[in-house]
Symmetry: C2
Subunit: 338 residues, 2 copies
């Protein structure tokens, strides 16, 4: 009744876009810091399933770059702040990679970041690499792709990688998990939903920036934030609240100094090892998850019972939980535990 | 070398919070429309893994309610609009359930929706049930819980279920997938990130609302939106753009009429069957996914090799892709395909 097919899982998932000869020149190009090759490498990791062979080749050369996440609600002026931060790092002699991740374009497969144009000042600097990313498929691999892109830029020799993402949801939390230090950017007067926004961001922020601080309400936003941080009871590291006016470069050096202080704190307390472990765990779980989704969705619909299960639930002949239990047991006969 | 353990998967995942005797009174209470029982039922489905036994009991009684999703960026005035929509449905003799989902509180486990207070007018109406939800765990079951909550309210006899969610990312897309018709709410002058926001929301909106239309820039927002809809080439259903000033009740009836027109369109063209199938498929995949994550994460860390794999990747003795392939093959020996 039940036929067992041994599908070649390592090939079924993450088909490399990059073949052998191609791979070598791509790897060498990335390691040499060739911007065109770096761009091609990020395109490869952006695809559904990523590019395992490329990542496997680059991975031993990673581990040197510092990854900083910058997140916050739309309209907080993150792009300008990121540009100013990149310039500040450049003045300190650091090479900077910027990955702008846009989880709000789930279907279009193209990041539309209208304000990229304002980054013109740093576009021409060879010490800065800028890349926008959006999810290519519906399988939720954007966090995985961000991690991979950070690895590419790390292997290419960038000292700092800034991960910029628009938004305040679980997507963004997943994405900034690739960073060692997370900067949350807020602005005065975001309206009614500010309380909801802060609740989520409060826990992931290592630094808080009140941008556009020349606007009315900046004092109140900073005071509210400070109160919420008091209540949250973060004992060991009290996230600083830094006011900026990014276009005028006000407060930007303080942000960079705050990030350095956080790095020093992580090192001194040994928390960096703990964080690295937690992040790696999250990364492996995300990869496992993507692999699972691809395995399920790539099975022919008429053979894995998914289509049949959908029909049964639609007709109310079976409830979703019973259908899932049946599908799960059918797809994976039994877990093998060492 | 490899020991095979048959773990009781149906029990390992989604342990019911609700035991036998408890279950019966809960089910009966929900079916009788008892608000306290409905609240308890939603609390049960909100937990990690949900409450399969409860859902299985209620599922045969569902399928009557109309689910409408309302989403858009923070500050768009969605809560007030939802309140006004609920009142409009009440005037038409319909009972209304409201599920306000907040994916921006991933860790706190509590929805902080400051503007709930403004809903006071409808809180006292027994024909309206309001509930805020936030994700309880880190396993991403919020979309699954939303689906289940809609089922609870459906079984309880509510004619319309309004699913309100704050945000513009993949989370929100997943959440509003539980709805048959999706209303996207925008406001004039959202700032720089508006292009990025629109790109993502454009594809999920069946109706667009420009709320706070008494503000400057409403014409421009509506015109831009109209242009983007022209370009998107949605041939069969052209999403209407409706202007509202929710606190003054302006345009709210038009929104309700627009939703009815969309429902009629889906029925007439037979697309409702197609949508139902697509939504059910997404629901089963979300359930499978949650089950997979729970299975992986609930394995003892020292036995499933995850902790060891994390250590190997942290030390750069193995790359993340190789570690994932090894873990995947170890957890699931082989997929069984009929």
């Amino acid at each position: 009744m039940t036929a067992v097919l041994r599908t070649a899982l390592p090939n079924a998932v993450g088909l490399p876009l990059v073949d052998g000869s191609n791979l070598e020149s791509l790897v060498n190009g990335v390691l040499a810091g060739d911007a065109r090759r770096i761009g091609q490498a990020i395109t490869a990791v952006e695809q559904e399933g990523g590019s395992p062979s490329l990542l496997q080749a680059l991975f031993p050369k990673t581990g040197r770059a510092q990854a900083v996440g910058i997140t916050g609600p739309p309209g907080a002026g993150k792009s300008t702040l990121v540009q100013r931060m990149a310039q500040a790092y450049r003045r300190r002699g650091q090479r900077v990679g910027i990955v702008a991740v846009d989880p709000s374009s789930p279907f279009t497969g193209g990041a539309i970041l209208g304000d990229r144009i304002r980054m013109a000042e740093i576009y021409t600097d060879p010490g800065v690499f800028i890349r926008s990313m959006a999810t290519r498929g519906a399988l939720g691999g954007l966090a995985r792709a961000t991690w991979d892109a950070v690895d590419v830029l790390d292997a290419a020799g960038y000292d700092v990688v800034l991960i910029e993402t628009v938004g305040v949801g679980q997507d963004e939390v997943d994405i900034v998990q690739a960073a060692e230090t997370v900067v949350v950017v807020l602005v005065p007067g975001l309206g009614d939903d500010i309380q909801a926004i802060k609740a989520g961001l409060l826990e992931i922020g290592d630094l808080f920036v009140v941008n556009k601080s020349d606007r009315d309400g900046a004092d109140r936003t900073a005071a509210e934030l400070s109160m919420m941080l008091d209540l949250s009871g973060k004992a060991d590291w009290r996230p600083p609240i830094i006011r900026t006016v990014a276009p005028r470069n006000e407060g930007v050096e303080e942000v960079i100094d705050g990030i350095s202080a956080h790095t020093a704190f992580l090192t001194k307390t040994g928390q960096n090892a703990l964080r690295r472990e937690r992040r790696t765990r999250a990364r492996l779980l995300a990869l496992l998850d993507e692999r699972f989704r691809r395995t399920v969705q790539m099975q022919p619909a008429d053979r894995d019972g998914l289509a049949e299960a959908v029909a049964r639930v639609v007709d109310r002949r079976e409830d979703p939980y019973a259908a899932t239990a049946r599908l799960f047991d059918r797809l994976f006969r039994e877990p093998v535990v060492r």
